[in-house]
């Protein structure tokens, strides 16, 4: 069976708008891959198609050769955090995670573990409505980690994090890759992922602009930032 995350000819049209246009790339295993592009480039739509939330118009997005919705144990295979505010404001953080843990086949001790990993142990009995955006991002990461998955798909996890939070996130992602996990993390800011990712996929207007090692992005002597801006300039 094909291993890894693989996007093949993926296209999504919403009415007359083509959000994702014949996108193909592979996500290398055991590494952090930055999925980059300006706002509206089609990153979120691509990730949602990968997770079975949005149906592709054509093409496919596969995890280990299968669609997400065909996986035997989706949350144990892919951990995803794609919505920063996604929790009932009146529910306590621990209850929120416990609901997701049950469907990920995880027990209460795993909830303790992920709370510890994201630094929310102290806040676990508070209602999520009182959480800052940064805390909600941490809660989202905790929910992604519940099933101890091989793959992590994170949509803009750095949004709303303060500098200390950003540093913590970088450490977390690097640690996860060091354990052999595959991490796909989107961002519209190159510098957010430049210190973490060793592979980048850059999209603009729904089309692939670059997929390869981050190190080769500035091969022609330009800075990373310049290369990124050139690739994502209006075409």
């Amino acid at each position: 069976m094909a291993q890894g995350i693989s996007i093949e000819g993926l296209t999504k049209r919403f009415g007359s708008i083509t959000a994702v246009d014949d996108l193909s790339f592979d996500v290398p295993s055991g590494r952090v891959t930055g999925f980059l592009g300006p706002n509206g480039a089609g990153k979120t739509t691509t990730l949602r198609m990968l997770l079975g939330l949005v149906a592709p118009t054509s093409g496919e997005a596969l995890v280990d050769g299968r669609r997400y919705q065909d996986l035997d144990a989706p949350r144990r295979t892919v951990g995803a955090a794609v919505e920063a505010m996604a929790a009932h404001p009146g529910r306590r953080a621990r209850d929120h995670l416990w609901v997701l843990a049950r469907t990920a086949g995880a027990g209460p001790e795993r909830v303790d573990e992920v709370l510890e990993m994201v630094g929310l142990t102290e806040a676990q009995h508070r209602r999520v409505g009182g959480f800052s955006l940064g805390m909600r991002q941490r809660l989202g990461l905790a929910s992604a980690l519940l099933g101890d998955p091989q793959y992590l798909v994170l949509d803009e996890p750095a949004n709303g994090l303060d500098p200390a939070g950003m540093a913590w996130l970088r450490g977390l992602l690097r640690g996860l890759a060091a354990e052999g996990r595959t991490v796909l993390v989107s961002s519209h800011v190159l510098s957010e992922v430049a210190q973490t990712a060793d592979h980048v996929v850059i999209v603009n207007a729904g089309r692939l602009r670059y997929a390869g090692p981050l190190a080769e992005l500035d091969a022609d002597g330009r800075s990373l930032e310049e290369a990124f801006l050139d690739l994502t300039a209006t075409s």
Binding site: A55, Q69, P74, A86, P89, V99, L100, T103, S143
Partner: protein, 246 residues
């Protein structure tokens, strides 16, 4: 499937909205029975006691809103994403919700029935009127009201899944009950007796509520509401399976 149903019930227990709705139901029932007693010339008419008890059925308004929150509430809080990530076969996720909310509707129904019976008995004894209601009729009314509560919870799940916008769905449901069903009823003549709220009233044994028309029998009301519940359950599943969650 059992796990999914238990999880839906756990989700209901870990937020406050269901308790608020349950509390409001009791206020409506006690207020309704009290209003009937203080505004009535005599409690000795044959209709008086069933009318009082049937307020348990009118509390279906709140199980309807509860049901609407099942899917529309998840869209509002964006938790629907996590729900479908956990259960990518969405028909299973929705089926679990339908069962769980029917169970929750039944729990509401039990509390509603107790409140209605206690409020009715209390007022009748305060007024010094013997409660002219044989056991069979009491149970028939209570059972009908309970079935109405449950059916409206299931209908609510369908309405919420169809509309997805919580505010719009609640507004539409309340507008239907307060206004639209009456207008539609005038347009369809005799069929008005079979519209959801009228059928519910018949099921809840609510005497003479269908403007001008003799209500359908309780059994017919039950059949009609079962049909609506099945229809809306189907709507809930079919609308949810195909749609993109963006």
């Amino acid at each position: 499937m059992r796990t999914l149903i238990h999880l839906e019930l756990y989700k209901l227990r870990t937020v406050r909205a269901p308790l608020v709705l349950l509390g409001l139901s009791q206020l409506l029932i006690v207020g309704g029975v009290t209003g009937l007693v203080v505004s009535s010339d005599t409690l000795r008419t044959a209709d008086a006691a069933p009318s009082a008890l049937a307020h348990a059925g009118l509390a279906s308004l709140f199980t309807l809103v509860l049901g609407i929150m099942a899917v529309a509430g998840e869209y509002r809080n964006q938790t629907i994403t996590d729900t479908f990530l956990s259960t990518p076969r969405r028909s299973r996720a929705i089926a679990a919700k339908l069962v769980a909310y029917a169970v929750a509707g039944a729990a509401f129904a039990a509390v509603n029935a107790v409140t209605a019976v206690v409020a009715t008995r209390t007022w009748w004894s305060v007024e010094g009127v013997p409660l002219d209601l044989d056991e069979a009729e009491l149970w028939r009314t209570i059972a009908g009201c309970a079935a109405w509560n449950v059916a409206f919870a299931v209908v609510g799940v369908g309405v919420g899944a169809l509309m997805r916008n919580l505010t719009a769905a609640v507004a539409a449901a309340l507008a239907w009950i307060a206004l639209v069903e009456g207008i539609v009823g005038q347009l369809v003549g005799d069929l008005a007796r079979w519209l959801p709220f009228s059928a519910g009233s018949a099921l809840g044994d609510l005497p003479g509520r269908v403007g001008g028309l003799e209500p359908v029998s309780q059994v017919a009301g039950a059949a009609a509401l079962a049909g609506y519940a099945a229809l809306f359950a189907l709507v809930a599943v079919t609308t949810t399976v195909r749609r993109d969650v963006t």
